[in-house]
Amino acid sequence: MSTTTEEIGTEPDLLPGGWEMVIGLEVHAELATATKMFSPARNEFGGEPNTNIHPVCLGLPGTLPVVNRKAIELAIRIGLALNCTVQRSVFARKNYFYPDMPKDYQISQYDEPINVDGHLDLASGAVIGIERAHLEEDTGKSTHVGTSGRIHDAGYSLVDYNRAGVPLIEIVSRPDIRGPEQAKSYVEELRAIVVAIGASDGKMEEGSLRVDANVSVRPAGSDELRTRCEIKNVNSLRSLGRAITYEARRHVSLYEAGDAPRQETRHWDEEEGRTRPGRSKEEAEDYRYFADPDLVPVDPSPEWIEEIRAALPALPKDRRQALVSTGASLPAAAVAVARDLDRLALAAIEAGADPERVLTHVANNLAVEGAGELDPADFADLVKLETGGGLTATQAKQVLAEMVETGRDPATIAAERGFEAMDSGELEALLDGIIADHGDEWQRFVDGDDKTRKKMQGFFTGRVMQATKGQADGRMVNQLLNRKAGG
């Protein structure tokens, strides 16, 4: 997942003129607890089917749920990170029959959720309201064995309850999101936050982070809320953007044809690139919510909440800001934070390395395993060698790769590899020779317009690199060429 630079405000050209999107997202994140929400069974992804189970999460007759204190703590962390009010909460039963739900009800929070009224600040400066972030338990997974993989014509179904009862937080945004890119930024930021505070591993591909989108449209500038559709089965950020755009356009076409969308749940079909209606209105569920009599209200003390607040690590927003204040650009800072390399970058910069070069390496050369263990002082030394002319950019990249691999210091690696930047006299002599051999090209460089000059500059740099096997410093070659042409 890469961090996008998101546009501020509306995203033009996606909808016909005069319409804007109104999007609210429901993000489910599995909490990174050792055991399940109400059961002593392990909370672990993967594993043989039906091995991380216990009578309680199987809902066996006579079993009773007991709240996992760690899940409460993680939920409070999320609430605080999203600027929510943390309050007394009540678990309720959401009743409906489904084979992968062992009790045929889901324990969730309904009218008294643990976190309410927060907001999330995007890198663009946009602020997205958070309505609530409540706790609930996950369901199991069904596999339908038959011709199409659909439940309707399955020969039989297999159910794996390993996931049943895994703690989930459902984070419900207000309908403040105005386009697919902003929706993606919101999910990325949310993901970065839950990962940073250790509340979830945030892996969309493993299903530990899942997104449903409520989409509607309205005349641009109006503040009405029109009929929305809930889009499910969105399994990646890319799908999220596509699904939102498709659905919003569908609504606009309906309105422009004098029709209107129906409120319904729709499923994103990735292959066909369209949404399809899910459950019909006739089958609409009445969940018959009521307070779960097996559980008591959760009422965290103000002392506990403050203790959790005090222990919260720096949030992505603050970490980006820390880099920006050293002179880094916001997009570069965002990449560093997304890679969790911002602390390394900051330490290297504080040790005297050039911020721009540091962040360039982070963006281009450190998307590798083990980059986080790099010694900041060594990293700073490398950048200093490079900016001081002791290493070319290409050499620096090679040395850096070896530093990550071996943990050794840059000077030693450079010496072993014989990377000693040519001194300028040596380089100048070489360049003079090349110019002498290529008089026509040199003339075109001296007389040419900007475009030709640039092209010829590439020609001479290439020759120098060829002759030096890449050991020359490209910037120095450019400086020499310009000086010679000018002089």
């Binding site: 009578p55 006579g62 007991v66 309707h152 009521f290 097996d294």
Partner: protein, 491 residues
């Protein structure tokens, strides 16, 4: 008198435990004797769904080995006990007297079962009940009714009819039931034994198959107050596996059992103790007044008190209990355990399974509860019932500022013949005296006090405030002594 009497005395809990602990008798001989009585008599009574003869004898032998090794097996050493068939017993079928749990053997023991075995008790079998504890006669069992040992043409009450009958018939000196709206106290009254519903949260519900979670509570049935007091002390106490379990150390009720009632403030609830109430048998009401007189002569201050909300209790209960039941019983869908009836798809399979597996009364309550929780009806039904419950709790709490215990009949009538209350509303009305304490969470117990129509047993009910078990038991002990004195009976 029509029908046979199968009442039996036998050695009591305290004598058995003392004998086994001292080595005077072996647990094996005690358990064997009781198993033989069951084998001889239960064909007619049908107190048991399952008898675990071999397992019980093995457990008894282990108790005897402990004694031989000089280890104390515990306060219930060698005592044969019967547990209602809605409490989970590892490896032993736990049916709730329903076809829907066909073939299911729990992989774990209920907390109460663990505590009983840790105290040296020997479980001999699982007792019959109204399906999922829904009923007041044990006629709703999928495996056929239990007969009242006092008069086998009559019901034993319910839903813990099997547990009450097991004690009344002398099959076991001690049994355990669950009480959601009177399901321990009413059969105790109808079978002439003691039955206790402890404070909600005093005894762990872990392993009790839920009927209505906010009302269910496990408690003992025995021939004497002292036996139930001892059993209560064994099973009560905090359990981290039950979130509604009270997290504090409870004083043993046996310690003050014989302290008497001098100065105890006793209230007779007017709304449930008048000869004028429709459906209340005069002799039953008369007995509760005599019990009050007995407490007064023992030094208690007895007064009549009005608790208006008790009248609304029945209606509130028949909204709340079915609502919770409709959710609690959803899991019996044929997917994971118990009965499964095939269907062309999952929904049809679930429908066929539940249609076949549940009896009429269970279906009736699931439908009532589903309706009470439905969108658009919630406020008028479930919401309103919860408000009634809150009012009732407040009113009882106010009354308990002036009283230590309250007194009523346990059941408006004595044991009735099979089929006499086929109309559900008539049957529901049976619970009018017992339901208030389930709604408030307060403890209550039934003590046999003489007889009523047709020479059948009558029970009086003593209620107490939250965790007021000490006062409740010592008042019960006084009432018990008065009952024995007035009858000169051997009970």
């Amino acid at each position: 008198m029509i029908g046979g009497r199968h009442m039996s005395g036998g050695t009591g809990v305290i004598e058995i435990a003392a004998g086994v602990r001292s080595g005077a008798v072996t647990a094996v001989s005690v358990v064997e004797e009781h198993l033989d009585r069951i084998a001889a008599g239960d064909g007619e009574i049908h107190a048991f769904n399952t008898v675990v003869r071999e397992r019980a004898l093995a457990a008894a032998a282990a108790v005897d080995r402990a004694v031989a090794d000089g280890r104390d097996p515990g306060p219930l050493a060698g005592v044969p006990v019967a547990v209602k068939d809605n409490m989970c017993t590892r490896g032993i079928p736990t049916t709730c007297s329903s076809r829907i749990l066909e073939g299911w053997r729990p992989p774990y023991d209920a907390t109460v079962v663990e505590r009983l075995e840790a105290a040296g008790a020997v479980i001999v079998g699982k007792t019959n009940l109204d399906e999922f504890a829904m009923g007041s006669s044990t006629e709703n069992s999928a495996f056929g009714p239990t007969r009242n040992p006092v008069d086998t043409t009559r019901v034993p009450g319910g839903s813990s009819g099997g547990s009450a009958a097991a004690v009344a018939a002398g099959f076991t000196p001690l049994s355990f039931g669950s009480d959601t709206g009177g399901s321990i106290r009413q059969p105790a009254a109808l079978c002439g034994v003691v039955g206790v519903k402890p404070t909600y949260g005093a005894v762990s519900r872990y392993g009790l198959v839920a009927f209505a979670s906010s009302l269910d509570q496990i408690g003992p049935l025995s021939r004497t107050v002292a036996e139930s007091a001892l059993a209560y002390d064994v099973i009560a106490g905090h359990d981290p596996r039950d979130s509604t379990s009270i997290d504090r150390v409870l004083a043993p009720v046996t310690a003050r059992l014989d302290d008497g009632v001098d100065g105890l403030r006793v209230g007779i609830i007017a709304e449930l103790s008048s000869q004028d109430i429709e459906g209340f048998e005069p002799a039953v009401v008369e007995r509760s007044h005599q019990a009050a007189d007995a407490l007064a002569s023992a030094g208690a201050k007895v007064e009549e008190v009005s608790i208006h909300s008790t009248i609304a209790g029945l209606s509130a209960y028949y909204m709340i209990a079915p609502a919770e039941a409709s959710s609690n019983l959803a899991r019996y869908d044929g997917v994971r355990y118990g009965l499964r009836r095939a269907g062309p798809n999952t929904a049809a399979m679930m429908r066929a399974t539940r249609t076949t597996g549940f009896g009429d009364e269970v279906k009736r309550r699931i439908m009532l509860g589903t309706y009470a929780l439905s969108a658009g009806y919630y406020d008028a039904f479930y919401g309103k019932a919860q408000r009634v419950r809150t009012i009732m709790i407040r009113e009882f709490d106010r009354v308990y500022e002036d009283f230590d215990v309250l007194l009523t009949p346990t059941s408006p009538c004595v044991a009735f013949p099979f089929g006499a209350k086929a109309d559900p509303i008539t049957m529901y009305y049976n619970d009018v005296c017992t339901i208030p304490c389930n709604l408030t969470g307060h403890p209550a117990m039934s003590i046999p006090f003489g007889t009523g129509a047709d020479d059948l047993p009558v029970g009086v009910q003593i209620m107490a405030p939250m965790l007021g078990e000490e006062d409740m038991f010592r008042a019960a002990a006084v009432v018990e002594r008065a009952a024995i004195g007035s009858e000169g009976a051997d009970r």
